[in-house]
Symmetry: none
Subunit: 202 residues, 4 copies
């Protein structure tokens, strides 16, 4: 039987120090050179404390990212709904473009993706804790658009989100093209053309 640590004894101070140190180091030295030892040293923590509470480096990175998101407004806040889906989506997509350009985010997100690509378990956790809640907020806005007759009523919303976000995400991840506000707008235009109700013109 594997010995499990007792979570009630867990030091919150150490936990925060570790996650903060992890974030800082990812930004400073990049994912490839990120080490458990450096995190422990920076956090003023014993290595064992990291190994006790996280199962892998990916898990630490994941939690570091999760903690970042929890403090932010994203997870809780719904998308804007002015009644015009085009306006709202363009605003959201432009915001996403801006976020990807933020150097403070770049390191951690790339690190997280690197881990997710090679770790199915982490990928599942990522979907459940991070991606799905965010996606649900977006789907809520799209359902509103469906009710308003701005989107096909029978549209597959998972596919819709992929259509909208995957090109943007891919450009950023593989650096295969520039991320500009215009590009965000164009994606929304194409998306709406693909998803508009039949018999309707933009």
């Amino acid at each position: 039987m594997v010995k499990q640590p007792n979570p009630t004894r867990r030091s919150e101070r150490s936990r925060q120090a570790i996650l903060t140190a992890a974030r800082e180091l990812i930004s400073e030295v990049g994912y490839a050179k990120l080490t458990i030892e450096a995190i422990a040293a920076r956090a003023g923590v014993g290595k064992q404390t990291i190994y006790r509470w996280w199962s892998s480096k990916g898990a630490v990175i994941f939690d570091a990212f999760l903690a970042l998101s929890e403090t932010g407004p994203e997870l809780s806040t719904a998308l804007p709904d002015t009644g015009d889906v085009e306006t709202d989506l363009k605003a959201v997509m432009r915001a996403t473009v801006a976020e990807f350009a933020d150097p403070a985010f770049e390191g951690p997100i790339r690190a997280l993706n690197t881990e997710i690509i090679n770790d199915p378990a982490l990928a599942a956790q990522y979907r459940e804790k991070l991606a799905d809640p965010l996606d649900e907020a977006k789907k809520t806005r799209l359902r509103s658009a469906q009710r308003a007759g701005q989107l096909a009523a029978d549209a597959d919303l998972d596919l819709a989100l992929e259509l909208l976000y995957a090109p943007l995400y891919q450009r950023w991840l593989l650096r295969s093209g520039p991320l500009t506000p215009q590009y965000a707008d164009t994606l929304v235009d194409v998306f709406l053309k693909a998803m508009r109700p039949e018999g309707r013109r933009s």
Copy 2:
């Protein structure tokens, strides 16, 4: 001045052995556990021979992948052109889905992506040597469709490819959903709806 090895003296036998060993090991043990030492041992080669000709582990993986592609028919062969773009694209997308499901490809592609995400230089090389030629073949087929009036004449073909492939690629990379032939068909349907000429119905 950095000393450069003389390429004319390079052992082709060693080069092939290294690339083959790299491919085999990625499939067998995965990217995370791939080591230069193991590649050298498997290839029956000194470590220095790897370090002499490749600047990083990513560069080896890239070349291993490149060599694989060069032997295959992909780079040289154009896409099918039956006259019906929908038929042709669905065939191509289904083939892509099948390729992603091939366990022999899975390891190397994930490894390559892992390196590319964190190495801009490698990403550029990847675009130039691998992605761009493949994209050009696809664009050729799309231009044919434009001439046939099946696609908007003013469509941005880079965007078109992203629209078509990015959702598929993202699902595979992040394991965010199942990759089925039906999904391939659906992507083509949505793509054609978004890209069809104005005033036209599918």
Copy 3:
């Protein structure tokens, strides 16, 4: 500031295993082919554990030799004193000749000398920890002989020891001649002739 390991945490088990392995390997493969890796492997120890506590291969060899001497009786035991310095010195010199002929000693002593020749710091340590205590024991016997009127009262005892031992040592080190009990006796004879009190005949 250089980080210093904490000696109180040192594993005595590892220390002994390393020194023993070093001695064994010197005897088996000789000094020239002695490697840190082989010592670590033989001792069942990580290389870092060697590098943590010893600054050079020579330092390990020195300690291995020192540990050997500490367990033996040599350092603590005084020379025999029968009252006749000739008898006593011949016994000691013959014992030294026998010791040099012991194949178990040959390897380590040659290795130690090799390091000492090229490393002044090690040479100083050697004098302080090994040579000086042994020399002192010998000088004690010579002082006794001086009191007994068998040796010149004003003889330089450092020089005396050199006169007695250096020829023997040199023959062994450079293999410039045979080491026999007769040779030992002859050296004592010559030594006593050179060092006897003035006005006295042997």
Copy 4:
């Protein structure tokens, strides 16, 4: 059958360059860090040219030292013979002390000794080519002293040389004491006392 190189084709220019480079490098970086590659690079010579003509690093060092001695006057010149052996020996011993203090000699001699200690074959070659001729010259002077009645007629001259030189050599090799002209004189005094004819006083 092992292929033997043809000595008539040997490049004298390369041979000299190698020996010179070896000497320089020993003085500059010391014996421990002396490498064949560095010698070849310094000499502007292919590594194979060294391996073709010398069987080991020790052999190169030996030849480098030998070449040095051949250019000097030592091997050919006999010792001075003023008729007074004490005067002559003190002059020779003082010269030896001075030589050992010459930094240009220090490196190569230590290197040579290091190799000789661990390589019996090289030791034999050293005796034959270098030590024996030098010793013979010294013995010639001692024989002259015997004829003059300044030394015991039945003295063992090999032992005599050891008595005279081994203490000096040992002090230098192991750095066990200072090498001064006074020390040289003292050694000669003691030597003469040990070796003088019976019934005689200095």
